[in-house]
Structures are given as structure tokens and as C-alpha cells.
Amino acid sequence: MTLPGFSQTSAAFCLLLIFLVPLASAGLALINTGLGRSRSAAHALLASLFVVAIAAIVHVMWGFSLEGFVGRPGHFLVAGGKTWNWVAKEPFFLRGVEFDGSPVSLSMLLQMFSVALAALIPLSAGADRWRLGASCVSTVLLAGIAYPLFAHWVWGGGWLAQLGVNYGLGRGFVDGGGASCIQVVGGLTALSIAWILGPRRGKYSHDGMPAAIPGHHAVFVLFGCLLAWVGWMGLNSAGAILFAGVEPARVVLVAINTTLSAGSAALVAAVITRRRFGRPDATLTANGWMAGLVASSASGAFVKPAAAILIAVIAAAVTLLAIEGFEFWLAVDDPGGAISVHAVSGIWGLVAVALFADVGNRGGKSGQWLAQLVGIASLLGFVLPLTYGLNWLLNRFYPQRVDLEGERQGMDLYELGAGAYPEFVVHSDEFIQR
């Protein structure tokens, strides 16, 4: 399979962009760690390493064989006289892939990094109470079943991508940078994990009021945002070239929109928190930055910079509202705000494609609207029950939550036998004004 106008130079350029993507994972791992407690910091980063390793191995073993690429073999179902491409039919262990810089091989590499990024998202929702072994097995389920299926539908020439060809719905479901298959799939898995694990001890009082449990390292969180920005530029750009057929020269626009999105969303989050609490809140501003990046993923290659700013402004406001809603009204303890940042902002990004993007529609704007809605309905109606069901089953056989003593000691001491900061002692007199 070759993409039109995809030369060796394009392949080399695309490869460089793909090499930036692990920085998004590094950023997310730092953010997850910083937003958790200090007594679980080493555990959080070690879990990130394990999750990335397992996601990559599962992707190579059978993930890519379910995921495939446009124009490659697949399993089809005929309904209403149209073919529905449900799942790819590639050999296991990448035996059908030539490592020659072709779009298929580049797609395989990008998706290996993408699935790792998606698998890191639930770690944030399970912080301070998710057992290391359980998070590893849960990653196998995400990387081996939920992610490849949905990624095939969107990026592998599956039925969602074909909605335009089969039913005249715009250009089909459009998601250049993985807002759906990476961010929303990861975010909905995070929601499933938060529900299954339940809140941390002491998070909610008997009358249901949440206690603030601040993250332990704002510097990790904010530096993680900067790393994620670079990674996201690679992700959005490479995704747009490989999966949305965007010309390599157009990545300039993708990078501009990605940066504008992150910046605008962070500024809006800072303004909102300043108005609400009197001072800008560093961690919520970081959440705003990430929400901007997530919202830019679907539409970054197809909107003008002014629209990117508007999308990000709304993403930040919606994300902050969702963070508060999940914590106060729905009693979902999500220490890193992963559900709001990745699932809610990702869904908004997918809607924004229909609102603002110029994707060269067949069937007009209404067709594109319908395609995006069908994609969102598939995320809510298929991915959420699937990830919840799989993790619920896992929890029946292998309890995912650490026991009470583990939560009291902290995950570092309980599961790893040593803390992340063994020489770090807080002296109460450091807080006395002199």
C-alpha cells in the first residue's frame, strides 16, 4: 500500500516525526507521577515503564494483526449491501510487514508508540491504589483488544473510516492525531478503572464531600506538559500524514495549531482558576494545557489557527468543569484528571472536526456531522462497555486494588519495598514563619 505522493523523503520526514512521539509518553508519565502522592511516586513511574513495555510487546505479538492498515487484508461483513470492515487480518508477530519505510511499516511504528500512550492514561485514574500486576494485565487487555479494534476502524481502513465511501457521510470518521483511538479509548478505560477501584481512602467524607489530595510534585507535572507538547506535535503531524492523507508540507499548520491549542487552553485554565480561587492553579492549568493538546489531535490538520484557538478555549472550560463534576457530583476519584482531559476533551475534539474542519466533504457538513457522531456513539456504546467488562472480569479473578495496608504505607513501600525519596524528610519547622 502506498500513499499518493509518498516519497522516500516523505518517509524519512515521517519517521523523524514518529520518533518525537515517545516524548508524549514521557510527559504523561511525569504528569501522572507528579499528580500522585510522594509515597507512590516510584511505583507510578515504574508502572509507566511496564505499561509501555507491555503495550509494545502486545502490539507486536497480535495488536497490529487486528489493527492493520488501509488497503490491507481484513474481515468483512456485508450489511445493507455494503461491506463493513470490522477487523484486520494480518499475520501475528508482524510477519506480513516489510520494514522498508513504507506507510505500513511507519504506521506500525507510530501505532506501537500510540498504544503505549493510550495505556498510560488509565494509570493516572488508578494512582495510589492500583496494583502493579493488575495494571500490567489490564494493559494487555487494552493493547490487545480495545485499542487495536477501534484503531482499525479509524486508522486501518475500517468501517468508521469508510463511512464516507459507503454511505456518503462526509469524508468518513476523521481523526488525524488519535483523539478517538488513543485519547478517548484511554480516557474511557481510565473511567472504568476509577469505577472498579473506587476512591482512595480518605478522599470522601461520610457526607460525600471530597477532600483535596494535592499532587506531590508540580515541577514534574509542568515539565511533563512541555515534553508532551513536543511529542504531540510529532503525533498529530505523523498521524495526519499517514492516516488522513495530509501532505507532509502541511505539518507546519499542524504544529502551529497544536501549539496554539495547548497555549490557549492553558491560559484559559489559568484565568478560570484565578477567578475561582484568587490565584492560578498550577495543576489545573497543566490539565488545561493537556486538554488543549488532546482537543487538537482530531482536527489539527484541518482547521485554521483561529479555529484551533477557539476549540482549545472551549476544551479548557469543558475539561475544568468535567474535573469538578467527576470529583464533586459523580464521586469518581481521578487523581490526575485523566477522564476529563483525555475522554471529555477528546470527544469535544471529535465534535469540533464537524464544526470547524475543512476536510473536503462529500455530502456536505451534515454528512461529516453524522460520521463524527457515529464515531462518538461507537466509543460510548462499544468501547466503554468493552473496557469496563474486561477490567471487571479481571477484577473478579485478580483483585486490582491494593489492600488497606498498602494504601496506608504507600505503593512504593508496599509493592516495591523502598520509597522514591528515602532521604526526603519534611520538618514541621520549615513551615514556621521566621
Binding site: 463511512l163 473506587g198 460525600g208 453524522l370 462518538i376 460510548l380 462497555p385
Partner: protein, 59 residues
């Protein structure tokens, strides 16, 4: 309640898929896709409610 919620989520998705496969006019497809999403939102509300009740029981 939780199981009913997840079944409604799946049912909503099936309505969306069926509308694409069975209906041919754009207004009818749109109406059924929106109906499917409404069923999904109802299912989501049930699942959320079920977890709120579970949380209260844990207390």
C-alpha cells in the same frame, strides 16, 4: 442497575449501526443516530447512578 446501564449503552450503539445499514434517507439516518445516542446517554446515566449507590454502600 449497572448491567441495565451497560446493556442500554450497547443497545444505543446497535441502533446507530442499524440506522446506517437499514435506512437510506439522510433525515431518517440522522434521527435514528440521535436516538441511539440518547439511549446511550440514558445507559450512561444508569451506570453513573449505579456507581454512586455502590459508593454510598461502601461508606
Amino acid at each position: 442497575m449497572k448491567l441495565a446501564g451497560f446493556l442500554l449503552l450497547l443497545a444505543g450503539w446497535v441502533i446507530v449501526l442499524s440506522s446506517l445499514a437499514l435506512l437510506h434517507s439522510a433525515p431518517a439516518q440522522t434521527a435514528f443516530v440521535l436516538a441511539g445516542i440518547a439511549v446511550e446517554l440514558l445507559g450512561l446515566a444508569l451506570v453513573v447512578r449505579a456507581h454512586l449507590v455502590l459508593g454510598e454502600a461502601r461508606e
